[in-house]
């Protein structure tokens, strides 16, 4: 995995910059801008975000509004994506669902990576009993498929809103990243700057948050990106079976569930939301994959 500090120094040397040592982020930004996949994915994602938030404003129909005379109508000038079985405008529904899926994906991913970083770093830094307890919990959480726990918990979170769902999603997805962070922390804590900080009397918590975690930020960023698509997929699957986002909220998953039973007779209720979901996950995956190649020197050859 990469050590951003060293990498930045390398690029600085290569470019012959002597006076100003670039910060941690300028090198990263430089790498990212040279990876077309990341730019393409980011553009796609930006387009989806704009569509999701601006789309409902442009649409003549309201989210909850039903057009009683137009049920299961195919796409037309009036209903851009057609209407569903009770006359709701599919375009507005899909865009609001897209909003929810994007928010859930982003929030859950950030939370997942944060939990993983803290658990992994503490386990790797302190080792001993802390490590054993934390890794034991991690192993136990890995044994249970997390969708199962989420599904079992669903009666308890019915009516609690989607934020609770996001927290649970994150609480059940951090294990693999935590193991990686732990491995990296074990090697990072032997570095000179960590030792120097320790001998200067910096507290353990401060070392972890100021010296260890920032130095694996590239790993964490890549991982957070990958977690976005994982969270969106998990949310979709759970919502499909009614264990995720509950009405009146809609997400792409619940829309796909509604549309899937009638996709042959009324294809617009199914294919628009499915297509957008696939484009969304693909955009996030492109960003994640490109970032990994840009930030991880070992993987450079692969792309």
């Amino acid at each position: 995995m990469s050590m951003p500090a060293e990498r930045v120094a390398d690029t600085a040397e290569a470019e012959g910059e002597e006076v100003r040592v670039p910060g941690r982020w300028s090198g990263v930004l430089y790498e990212v801008l040279r990876t077309p996949r990341v730019l393409f994915g980011a553009a796609l994602l930006l387009a989806l975000v704009i569509a999701a938030w601006v789309g409902p404003l442009l649409s003549p129909w309201d989210f909850a509004e039903t057009d009683i005379i137009a049920r299961r109508e195919p796409p037309s000038a009036e209903h851009w994506f057609g209407t569903d079985s009770i006359g709701r405008d599919t375009f507005t529904q899909t865009m609001v669902g897209l909003q929810k899926s994007i928010i859930i994906g982003l929030l859950a991913a950030i939370l997942t990576t944060a939990i993983a970083a803290v658990v992994g770093a503490f386990a790797g830094y302190f080792l001993g009993a802390t490590d054993r307890v934390l890794m034991w919990i991690t192993d136990l959480a890995l044994v249970l498929p997390n969708f199962l726990i989420l599904a079992i918990l669903y009666p308890a979170l019915r009516g609690k809103g989607w934020l609770v769902f996001v927290i649970l999603l994150a609480a059940l997805a951090w294990m693999v990243t935590a193991k990686m962070v732990r491995g990296m922390t074990i090697s990072l804590k032997e570095r000179e700057y960590v030792l120097a900080a320790r001998y200067m009397g910096v507290s353990h918590h401060r070392i972890i948050f100021r010296h260890i975690l920032p130095n694996m930020s590239s790993l964490l960023i890549v991982d957070a990106t990958i977690n976005v698509s994982a969270a969106i997929i998990a949310e979709t699957s759970l919502s499909y079976f009614g264990f995720g986002v509950q009405p009146p909220d809609v997400s792409l998953g619940s829309l796909i569930a509604d549309g899937s039973t009638q996709s042959l007779a009324f294809p617009w209720t199914f294919w628009f939301c499915t297509g957008l979901l696939v484009v969304l996950v693909m955009a996030v995956n492109l960003i994640g994959d490109g970032l990994r190649d840009a930030l991880d020197p070992q993987s450079k050859r692969r792309s």
């Binding site: 498929p145 199962l148 696939v278 484009v279």
Partner: protein, 328 residues
């Protein structure tokens, strides 16, 4: 080596027990079997409800610790998972349904992983050629599609195909035609017709993940000295790539297999539910909606055993591929 496996095995048993206990406690705390009886028409008398709930060990007036104690005692002493909410034996249901899920998982995993590894390794050898680009694009696309969507899309495509051709070529409801009497070959054909779509659904998702991963691992290994040495000492390119490069590149993939197995189980659940197979996965979704605590705990036990079996299998494969593990 033997000692290593035995130690692993014991820690697996402990983890399985803890995982199922955790699921039981969670299910007992969140699900409310009482509502099932309250909603019966005509509603039974209060006494009858209490009696039934007590009999099934589902009464929420009994402290949860006591219910858990009863559950553990029956499980450990008699190997009995209790009764379902309809007062059927959970053990019998498990015996009936586990086979369905195992058939699906084993065939799907075998197919998906081997094809994925083969394609991934081959694309690494042919890096940047047409085959590599096509395989990468396909894998990227499939990775962006949740298993649920793959399953539903394939079902709808099959329905469309049957409509257009007028032949029921694909079947997408259930594992086999009930009461079919068509001899051995007829039954086999019937099973294949039913099984092809669900198996493909599972295999596709695995293929995508494994071909990407194997390609990266293979590329890391291809440039290394030992592969060049192998070719320099006169091995054919094919032998060097298969015996030296692929063998080494498979080791991290095996660890990856353990991590993806949980996701695979989720995929199996969705596939079974969408194609109407009566396996463990479909059962757990139904039991959660029916507040069936004992069934949920039994399915969790089954899934934990599957995860552990996969992990045990990968330990053995690891030891087989990496001589260092065997020696130490």
């Amino acid at each position: 080596m033997g000692k290593f496996l035995v130690r692993r095995f014991i820690s697996y048993l402990v983890l399985i027990f803890l995982a199922s206990s955790f699921a039981y406690l969670l299910a007992a705390a969140t699900l409310s079997p009482r509502t099932n009886f309250d909603q019966l028409q005509p509603r039974p008398s209060q006494e009858a409800i209490e009696k039934e709930l007590d009999k099934l060990n589902l009464n929420d007036n009994t402290p949860i610790a006591q219910r858990y104690g009863t559950w553990v005692r029956d499980l450990v002493l008699h190997g009995d998972f209790g009764q379902t909410i309809d007062d059927q034996s959970v053990n019998e249901a498990v015996a009936r349904k586990a086979g369905v899920t195992l058939r699906l998982i084993i065939v799907g995993t075998g197919l998906g992983c081997s094809v994925g590894v083969a394609i991934g390794a081959y694309s690494a050898v042919k890096q940047y050629r047409g085959f590599d680009k096509a395989a990468t694009a396909a894998a990227f696309f499939v990775l962006a599609v949740p298993t649920v969507v793959i399953a539903v899309s394939m079902r709808e495509a099959a329905r469309w195909f049957n409509d257009v051709t007028g032949v029921r070529f694909f079947e997408y409801g259930g594992e086999y035609t009930a009461g079919l009497d068509a001899g051995f070959w007829g039954t086999l054909a019937d099973r294949l017709q039913h099984g092809i779509l669900p198996t493909l659904t599972l295999a596709l998702a695995l293929f995508a993940a494994f071909s990407r991963y194997q390609r990266n691992m293979m590329l890391d290994v291809l440039g290394s000295d030992f592969v060049r040495t192998a070719m320099a000492k006169g091995l054919t390119r094919r032998a060097a790539l298969l015996k030296h490069a692929l063998r080494t590149a498979l080791i991290p993939t095996i660890t990856y297999f353990t991590f993806t197995f949980g996701i695979l189980l989720a995929g199996t659940t969705f596939t079974e539910k969408i194609y109407g197979w009566h396996g463990m996965g479909a059962w757990v979704v139904d039991s959660i909606t029916q507040n069936d605590v004992n069934a949920v705990a039994a399915v969790t036990f089954f899934m934990a055993v599957c995860v552990m079996a996969a992990s045990f299998l990968s330990d053995i494969l690891y030891a087989w591929l990496d001589p260092r593990v065997r020696v130490s």
